[in-house]
């Protein structure tokens, strides 16, 4: 079964993401801040990371930078921001796709 890491500090958004993914049969784990997201990602237990841009501790870009070289896991950036500069920056740091 595929395991998905949800890095999202807004509890309600995280719950919604979890519900959607679990109903599709994925196993999910939720973390609420950037540092927890980095250590969870580095454990290598996940097949996909849903990464929010604005996280307390360290933000999504920083998380991306810190895990990109170490583990080969697809990263999907999720955010309320729509500015294309954020998108380009996220993708430049090694995110695989971007959902606004």
């Amino acid at each position: 079964m595929s395991r998905i890491l949800i890095a999202e500090d807004d509890a309600e958004i995280a719950m919604l993401e979890r519900d959607y993914l679990e109903i599709e049969g994925f196993e999910t784990h939720t973390v609420e801040d950037g540092n927890a997201a980095v250590s969870a990602a580095l454990s290598g237990e996940y097949d996909l990371i849903l990464l929010d841009l604005m996280l307390p501790g360290c933000d999504g870009y920083e998380v991306c930078r810190r895990i990109r070289d170490k583990v080969d896991v697809p990263i999907l950036m999720v955010t309320a921001r729509t500015e294309s500069v954020d998108k380009i920056r996220g993708l430049g740091l090694g995110a695989d796709d971007y959902i606004a």
């Binding site: 807004d10 958004i13 919604l16």
Partner: protein, 469 residues
Amino acid sequence: MKRRIFIGHTLTVLAALVALLLVNSFVARRVGERYRDQLAASMDTRSAQAQVILDNWQPASDTWPQLDEALHELEYGLYVTLAGHQIYTSLDPFQMDQARRAAAELDWPEEMAISIQTDGIPMVGLKSGPYTILALPKPEGFEFWGQHRPQSEATMQALIASGIAGIAVIVLLSLIFTNRQAKQLLRPINALTEAARRIERGDYSQPVDYQGQDEFTEVCAAFDHMQRHLLAEREKNADYERARTDLVAGISHDLRTPLTSVKGYLKGLQDGVANTPERRAQYLDIAYRKACSMETLLQRLFYFSKMETGKIPLSLSRVDLGEFVRQFVQESQEELSAKGAVLSLRGAPAPHPVRLDAEQMHRVLTNLTDNALRYAGAEPLELTLTVWRERDAERLRFADNGRGVPEEQLPHLFEQFWRGDQARGSRNGEGSGLGLYIVKHIIEAHGGTVSARNDHGLTFEIALPAEEE
């Protein structure tokens, strides 16, 4: 500058006068020399003629007038003594002394006239028997206008010439001095013009380039002061603009976050992700709460724009501040304890009459509470409200037990759009940067004051004018 102008003008006048004097004395000397030469020449011939007349004259007591007449044609006057006593004269009174002395003291030759000068006055004379006969040229000047007209004309011409030369010199000198003075005057003005142009180009960095010590020093200093003020003002405007831009970006983000939830949960219901009745109820509840928080935010924005564009009318009524705060505490207690906050009221019993707009004052308390919930960062959050009377003001203290605000940020707390650094970065709220600005606005509209300080957390103190019985 005043002194310089004074000195400059005085120098101009002095120099002009000196020049005039020099020119005049030069002209006068030239004219005088020429006249004297002419006079000397004519004097020589005339005294020779007088000598001839006197030599040929046969002295007799009744012929003096004829001799006098003959001499008169040469413009000579006659003086005759007989044995030392004057018997005839046609001299001017002031020449008499001279003639008397000359007749008495000088040794005039017998029967042969000589021409001599005593004390610069030429005279012709001789002794003839008992008579001493002297002839003196009539003095110049007394008949200046009559007989010596050519000479006076020459003098006039000389005066006119020297006058013209003097005027020319004065004009020249005044041109030179005025030019210098104008340059000195223009230096600071040019410097100021240059500085004004620079400011027009948007360069506020340089002070006015003027080192002089005079009245303009002050003007330039004032200009520099204005420039610094403009620069500060411009930076303040830029800050304000930045804050406004931030606000717009912030609001669109702050609205988008709950909107995303609303949309997401409604879509979840539509997609059947909520597959139990409990879950469906939960989804609906979340969507509803998020929509409410959006409404709150929009209300605050609307209130702010109303506040910006015009006055919000207050409907004041007589209220007991203690009672008002007690009611607020009671109403909010439940909602706040759900958010992990404790609200308590201290010291309210005595009457605390004030005039206030209940709706607006409620907004003040709500905004302060929201502010504490967002930014205090205390777990559990304890809010303590104290009401008391101090002189002629009713005071309300609103204290939290949070981390407070860095001292240097306290003065900015009530500025519109302002959010502290940790508030800006924080995710835990839809802060608009307007809440405390609105608080200050409302309190001041009530004729009161509000201040903030750090005291084991952040403490606000509101003072409202007390309403007398």
